[in-house]
């Protein structure tokens, strides 16, 4: 499908925010040939390219399109839950222009041909950028190394064991050491499966509910182990989803020791806590589990002070067949692509995290970590742009969810801040007005 480049586009009268430059100013963005020609106050004075569409943003915010570093889809293997096409529609509606696809599909993405499959399916069906993450170990079994070099050549942007930790420290050490030779980023889910052994955050709440608990230590111990291994291997490491105040401390200490590490948190752990579970509402069941309010506040503070680099949706579509069960038997996971930005803006509206820092965690930070050109409004960068109204109120209705699965913890939730238009490589892929 060889398309001609979309028409040039001028986004005028916008509040242009480019976290990479620390810029927040009134101006324009000029786009031609799928790339950014100019963005910011200086662009407002330049003429529009010949034949350009000119869109008056009416003071709305224009920022780099969001990059979501942790997204699960059901393709291949569970297309009834989510396809690359449906996930990309949900992403576009949420202002997300790049999604990194977790390899824990069926089959697991542990073979170069499967990376190629994802990329071809994405090219043919998806409206946003799809970046495959490949399996760190074969079959995600945590035993044998996956072909880091060949997978990287095929297009994998980083390596992860999905939502499972590599339990064997020796395997993990070798993986990190080997990955370093390829300058490959290792993304890890930090939860000791033996110590975890539960279905919600351990503590009083779980005890009253009669549910087995996942202790905070299951995460902290695994994270501490990993950072020791990073010290040995000198590799690039990203703790994908941390959830406890102690984990943030571990990351702080690791960074101060000069390790090449970053940390991520899911939007759920910034906006919900274990009390939201209520009467066993399984849409709030996830891994790591929702923690208590102190941990949530610690996560917010860690984003604000830069300890946590990246906010992701941890989008994980589950359907009725996997969710409508008693709590302990229901699958983990919540969708979040469509609500990532709107939910994150709650932290801005509550004065907990300033807007540029917040947007950085979903634009230039993940881009820098993955070595992408996107995530910034630099001249010559791909024209991936999100335009949103910072204050527009809306309610998430279940029937309006674009994901094939509807397991959102935000159903019926109120938000302030709505995506108006999403542009990928100069082409509008979502327009709220339509």
């Amino acid at each position: 499908m060889a398309h001609d480049a979309p028409k040039p586009l001028v986004l005028s009268n916008a509040r242009v925010i480019d976290p990479a430059r620390g810029m927040d100013a009134h101006g324009s963005i000029i786009i031609a040939d799928r790339t950014i020609l100019a963005a910011g106050p200086e662009a407002a004075n330049q003429g529009a390219p010949y034949g350009a569409d000119i869109i008056d943003c009416k003071g709305a915010i224009a920022c780099p399109g969001l990059i979501d570093m942790c997204v699960s889809v059901g393709e291949p293997g569970a297309e009834h839950r989510e396809t690359l096409a449906s996930a990309s529609q949900a992403a576009a509606a949420g202002g997300v222009t790049t999604i990194c696809i977790m390899p824990d599909t069926d089959p697991v993405i542990d073979d170069p041909a499967l990376v190629d499959f994802i990329l071809r399916r994405a090219r043919d069906t998806a409206s946003v950028n799809i970046l495959p993450l490949a399996a760190l170990t074969k079959g995600l079994r945590g035993e044998e190394m996956a072909e880091i070099g060949l997978l990287q050549e095929a297009g994998a942007v980083a390596f992860t064991n999905g939502h499972k930790s590599v339990k064997n420290a020796q395997v993990m050490r070798r993986m990190m050491t080997y990955a370093r030779d390829f300058d490959a980023l290792v993304i890890h889910h930090t939860e000791d499966p033996d110590l975890a052994g539960g279905v919600m955050n351990a503590g009083l709440n779980a005890s009253w509910k009669g549910l087995s608990g996942v202790s905070r230590e299951a995460e902290i111990i695994m994270l501490e182990r990993d950072l020791r291994l990073v010290g040995m291997s000198k590799g690039k490491y990203h703790a994908n989803l941390i959830s406890t105040s102690d984990s943030a401390d571990v990351i702080r200490t690791g960074k101060s020791r000069g390790l090449d590490i970053t940390a991520g948190v899911s939007i759920n752990h910034l906006t919900h806590n274990e009390n939201d579970i209520g009467a066993y509402r399984t849409f709030f069941k996830m891994s790591p589990p929702l923690r208590d309010e102190d941990d949530r506040l610690a996560m917010v503070a860690a984003v604000a002070d830069g300890t946590i680099d990246i906010i992701c949706s941890n989008h994980d579509p589950q359907d009725v067949e996997t969710k409508r069960h008693p709590w302990a038997e229901a699958e983990d996971g919540a969708i979040g692509l469509e609500t990532l930005l709107a939910a994150a803006l709650r932290l801005h509206h509550s004065d907990e995290i300033d807007l540029i820092t917040l947007l950085r965690t979903m634009t230039s930070s993940p881009a820098d970590r993955l070595g992408l050109e996107t995530g910034r409004l630099a001249k010559g960068a791909p024209a991936d742009i999100t335009i949103f109204d910072l204050d527009r109120p809306w309610v998430l209705e279940k029937s309006a969810i674009r994901s094939r699965s509807k397991n959102s913890p935000f159903v019926d939730a109120r938000f302030s801040g709505r995506v108006l238009r999403t542009v990928v490589a100069g082409k509008t892929v979502y327009n709220h007005a339509q």
């Binding site: 351990a202 503590g203 009083l204 709440n205 779980a206 005890s207 009253w208 509910k209 009669g210 549910l211 608990g213 202790s215 009467a279 066993y280 067949e321 409508r324 069960h325 008693p326 709590w327 302990a328 038997e329 229901a330």
Partner: protein, 318 residues
């Protein structure tokens, strides 16, 4: 009459009984008073009442239970309901799928009362959201077993004349016990002093904030107790997983005459059954003069009659 007034006048203004949590003390006392009447009914030669005449009660048990199921069956029949027992085998169908599918199927048969036991905490809540009838929790995993706590309270009240200010020691596998949770909530609601006595591996996390005093020694935990409530230790937890061995558990936590002597002289012994004699309780105590264990079974039927009657009063067309 306004909605609010209806609420106040109704001694049990709930559609279901999913747990003791959320019940007001006067609602609990109301159920106990109603159960006292049921005890009298059950002791007569003619035991049948017509309160539930024409009503259909289904006992849906996803977990085997001889005594609870027969107790609910008898309670329903004594009130005149048509009672059907359904035992759902766990292995035959994928877990959970059975629950929702079965719920939908049963709901189509228009039952009025659904008594449910399930191995997973919260399963009964899930089911209650999917059916149109009243649901009684007959035990959901380690979460709650409200009728057990009610029958225990009734038994205690009949012997001690009150619940408030009694010292009740609950001993054994607190962590995995729905009986313990329901009893802790109920006894606290009625003003008792609740203690738990167990090795720390059998205590849930955060136990000290659950409204109880925590003891790891039977000697200290039973000192001055009015009621000693023993819990069953599941076989799979005896051998190394949570306690090292049966004989070590019995040595430190099994209730024998020596340990019972630490409690008050008139202390009474309870056990929700089925008992493991020689594990958590010595045979001489289980069958001894201070034991209320057999009476608990009788009170079980009475309490379940009271619960079914209270729920039926709120059913439509009543």
């Amino acid at each position: 009459m306004t909605v609010k007034d209806t609420h106040r006048d109704n001694p049990y203004p709930h559609r279901h009984l999913l747990g003791i949590e959320g019940l007001h003390p006067h609602e609990i006392l109301g159920l106990l008073d109603r159960a006292e009447e049921a005890v009298e009914v059950s002791r007569q030669i003619h035991k049948r009442r017509l309160v539930l005449q024409g009503r259909t009660q289904i006992n849906l048990f996803f977990e085997n239970s001889t005594r609870t199921q027969s107790s609910f069956e008898l309670a329903g029949k004594r009130l005149g309901a048509d009672v059907m027992n359904m035992a759902v085998s766990q292995s035959s169908v994928k877990k959970g799928e059975t629950l929702i599918d079965t719920a939908a199927t049963l709901n189509a048969m228009h039952p009025d009362l659904l008594v449910v036991r399930h191995h997973a905490a919260g399963a009964v809540h899930l089911l209650a959201r999917k059916v149109g009838c009243s649901v009684v929790n007959a035990g959901d995993g380690p979460h709650e077993h409200p009728t057990q706590a009610l029958l225990d309270a009734l038994t205690i009240r009949r012997h001690k004349g009150k619940i408030a200010r009694l010292t009740v020691a609950i001993c054994g596998d607190i962590a995995h016990s729905r009986v313990a949770r329901s009893n802790i909530i109920l006894l606290n609601a009625l003003g008792a002093r609740v203690r738990v006595v167990a090795p720390s591996t059998l205590l849930p996390s955060g136990i000290a904030k659950m409204g109880v005093e925590v003891f790891n020694s039977m000697r200290k935990g039973l000192e001055g107790a009015d009621i000693v409530m023993m819990l069953r230790l599941q076989r799979e937890r005896m051998n190394g997983a949570f306690v090292p061995s049966v004989r070590e558990y019995y040595r430190y936590y099994g209730l024998d005459a020596e340990k019972l002597a630490y409690a008050k002289d008139d202390a009474l012994v309870m056990h929700p059954g089925p008992m493991n004699r020689g594990v958590e309780i010595d045979a001489s105590i289980a069958d001894g003069a201070q034991s209320l264990i057999r009476e608990q079974v009788e009170m079980g039927v009475a309490v379940r009659m009271a619960v079914l009657e209270a729920l039926a009063a709120n059913l439509p067309n009543n």
